[in-house]
Amino acid sequence: MLATKHIISIEDLTPAEIELVLDTAESFKEVNERRIKKLPTLRGRTIVNLFLEPSTRTRTSFEIAAKRLSADAVNFSGDASATVKGESLADTAETLSAMVCDLVVVRHRYAGAPQILARHMDAHVINGGDGMHEHPTQALLDLFTMRERLGRLHGLRVGIVGDVCHSRVAGSLVRGLIAVGAHPVLIAPPTLLPARADALGVKAVTSLDDVLPELDVVYLLRVQMERAEGMPFPSLREYARLFGMNEARLARMRPDAIIMHPGPMNRGVEISAGVADSDRSLVLDQVNAGVAVRMAAMYLLLGGED
């Protein structure tokens, strides 16, 4: 079981607890291969998927995870903006609290939203992605996938490529990798790097080709095509040329190095179709691990309470 009540940041977990989640997920992954993929572990418990930002993939993954543990999973969708919706997040939290639920998974377009929920309800909170801040279960499933394929996490060199400064995936992955003794490096044009990479304890470089041969993992972030303030690079074509993963770059990588992507992919931009479909790409392994890892997180937060 875990010492923390919530998983809002990956840093809520100690390195030993991260390992525990991954180990637990391994056994759940085995369950997911069975014909009857259901355990009675969380029977009678209520899990609310509070998704206040559009998401199909992550919500579905959490929903399947909850159902495989026999919890009652309820989806609550809406608009994040209190000014539009008319009800504050704090009131939403208290409303859900009054319905008595055990765990809330929250996806929200603004950083810090899970803390508001945690302050206003008794339930456990899992952060399903808050603004540009963190997405800890994504990091856990990524760590799971790396460990499964490469046999270790400690010492791995992981290049995180692309829109780092707007990415909650990167926010959690960097912290998680550092916690387990891996060596992340951020790779992006300066316009997509955070103001102070050193505040996260990570180095940042602007050339993918310079570091490519040293990496064990190339982790590609999705290019956000729908940006209000104007694109932070001249064109998708130029981005693909400088930072896109293609067959030529794949050939320059270590023979056992792998490609990862949190999805959904923009084929032809951050990843070529050939690379996406190659056996070096673990994109679907990540999705597969997602269900098991989320089952593990739910189980470890709720399972010890009986």
């Binding site: 209190a82 997040l89 950083a111 810090g112 508001i116 909650r168 102070r196 505040a199």
Partner: protein, 500 residues
């Protein structure tokens, strides 16, 4: 105010660049052309006994008595008690024992958001001036970003009249530079001056166009009026809500870069040089900004600046990972190095005054997500205690509480009382061109008495303000005003707000 009086005031303002002086008080009332407090109650004589009188402007730092009669200082000297008694039974003064306390010219906060008209749920003239008295201020300047924006004479007159009816301390309206503070067309500055405005600002956001800013300064110059700049290049700030750097990176929040303030400050300093207008820079938050002011002053440019207690005593480290919206302010909390540079600028005279940027907000607004919550912290009631606690200090008082980064280790003792009076009483008046107030015979009796040892627990119940969104909630400070006299009348007595 009659048309004639208005013309006369404008002529005076234009002629000398000096603000209108406080008119001789009619006994028992306080009538001034520019400021008002609730009047009508006769003012009894007051004897402040045995305070340490601190007024560096007249070279005074001594323990003595002050006798106040008819709204003015009638006498200063040792042991005035017996002389006062000799007045006879009619004029027996109210005696306030002030041993161990500081008496200073009344403090003024030139950056306050009173929210009236428009957001009376957050603050009103009545509650805001109560908070001011509670915090030790005899006067406050009200920023024009109300709803509607104070951009015409009649709106300035509304505020003046509200202050006359309900205000506990003097209220100096600041008018908008441009219509609606939209940065598009000049507001009626002459009209507003005639109705009591003392300076101009589009505070809340910066005037983005350099051309418009030049027009504002050129036009304001004819009145000798101060233009107050809120320095924020919106193109650089974007959706920024915390300092761009460590805080924005760690918290995944949009960053508000220091350069966005500094570029705007540099631009406006250059425009002040070009136009000759008196320029004041509000709530400077970065080392670069105070560096620009220091250099500009050396070059003889007419520029002044203020810093806020929250930028002096908190940095971005205080944000932690709690997303506490009481720590969301504009400009944002900066780095520890910036904070230290602000303290240094305070001590070397670059900073002209302390201003609180008192920004009350409703609890339901501050309960929103960090990016959606409004900017601002209240400040009227914590400004003086923060200055005393963190920069003057005392043998018995502890430091500010456990809020991350709220202490300046080793800073107590860096400021003397004379400099504090300069920064909170004389500096603010000088920036706005208000008449000076001194501790001397014949002066208007705007006086603040401070108990350096009084404990200030910063909890919601402490506040007289209608709002409690303080960045310093949960701390305990030392040093508080116990008496505030405005024109000889108590607005605060024994630490309690007096009046309506």
């Amino acid at each position: 105010m009659g048309e004639e009086a208005a013309r006369e005031k404008m002529a005076r303002a234009q002629g000398s660049g000096k603000a209108v002086s406080v008119a001789p008080g009619i006994p028992g009332t306080l009538m001034t052309p520019m400021t008002s407090v609730a009047s009508g109650i006769p003012v009894a004589p007051v004897l402040l006994r045995g305070a340490r009188l601190v007024d560096p402007a007249v070279g005074r730092d001594e323990v003595a008595d002050i006798l106040i009669e008819g709204g003015r200082i009638a006498n200063i000297g040792p042991d005035l008690g017996s002389a006062a008694d000799a007045h006879g039974q009619d004029g027996a003064p109210i005696v306030v024992e002030c041993a161990g306390k500081i008496a200073a010219p009344g403090l003024v906060d030139i950056h306050v958001h009173l929210r009236e008209p428009g957001r009376e749920d957050k603050e009103t003239v009545a509650t805001g001036t109560r908070a001011a008295a509670h915090g030790g201020f005899t006067g406050i300047a009200a920023m024009p970003n109300t709803s509607p924006v104070c951009d015409t004479g009649s709106k300035a007159r509304f505020l003046r009249e509200r202050a006359a009816a309900e205000g506990l301390v003097r209220v100096y309206p600041i008018g908008a530079c441009t219509v609606g503070s939209k940065g598009e067309a000049l507001a009626e500055m002459g009209d507003m001056l005639a109705e009591g405005a003392v300076a101009f600002s589009d505070d809340g956001h910066g005037v983005q166009s350099a051309g418009m800013t030049r027009l504002v300064m050129d036009y304001a110059k004819q009145f000798g009026a101060t233009v107050i700049s809120h320095c924020e290049d919106e193109g650089l700030v974007g959706r920024g809500v915390v300092n761009e750097g460590s805080a924005s990176t760690r918290l995944g929040l949009p960053g508000w870069p220091a350069a966005a303030e500094e570029i705007h400050a540099a631009r406006d300093i250059r425009l002040a040089e070009l136009t000759g207008c008196r320029l004041h820079l509000a709530h400077l938050s970065t080392a670069g900004s105070v560096g620009l002011v220091r250099a500009a002053k050396k070059r003889g440019i007419s520029v002044t600046c203020e810093v806020t207690p929250h930028h002096l005593f908190l940095d971005e480290g205080a944000l932690g990972d709690a997303y506490d919206t009481n720590l969301k302010m504009n400009p944002p909390l900066r780095t520890a190095a910036d904070r230290e540079a602000l303290v240094a600028a305070l001590l070397d005279g670059t900073v002209d005054c302390i201003a609180s940027d008192h920004a009350p907000h409703a609890p339901h607004e501050k309960a929103l997500e960090f990016e959606l919550a409004p900017f601002g912290t209240t400040g009227l009631e914590t400004a003086l205690p923060l200055m005393v606690t963190n920069l003057i200090g005392s043998s018995s008082c502890g430091t500010a509480g456990s809020l991350g980064g709220s202490n300046l280790p080793g800073s107590a003792g860096r400021l003397d009382w004379g400099t504090l009076v300069q920064l909170m009483a004389h500096g603010p008046r000088k920036v706005l061109g208000l008449s000076p107030v001194h501790l001397e015979k014949g002066a208007v009796a705007d006086i603040t008495v401070i108990d350096p040892e009084a404990e200030v627990p910063v909890v919601p119940e402490f506040f007289e303000s209608r709002s409690a969104n303080s960045a310093f909630l949960g701390t305990t400070l030392s040093g508080k005003a116990t008496e505030v006299l405005v024109g000889g009348r108590f607005a605060l007595r024994n630490g309690k707000v007096v009046g309506t």
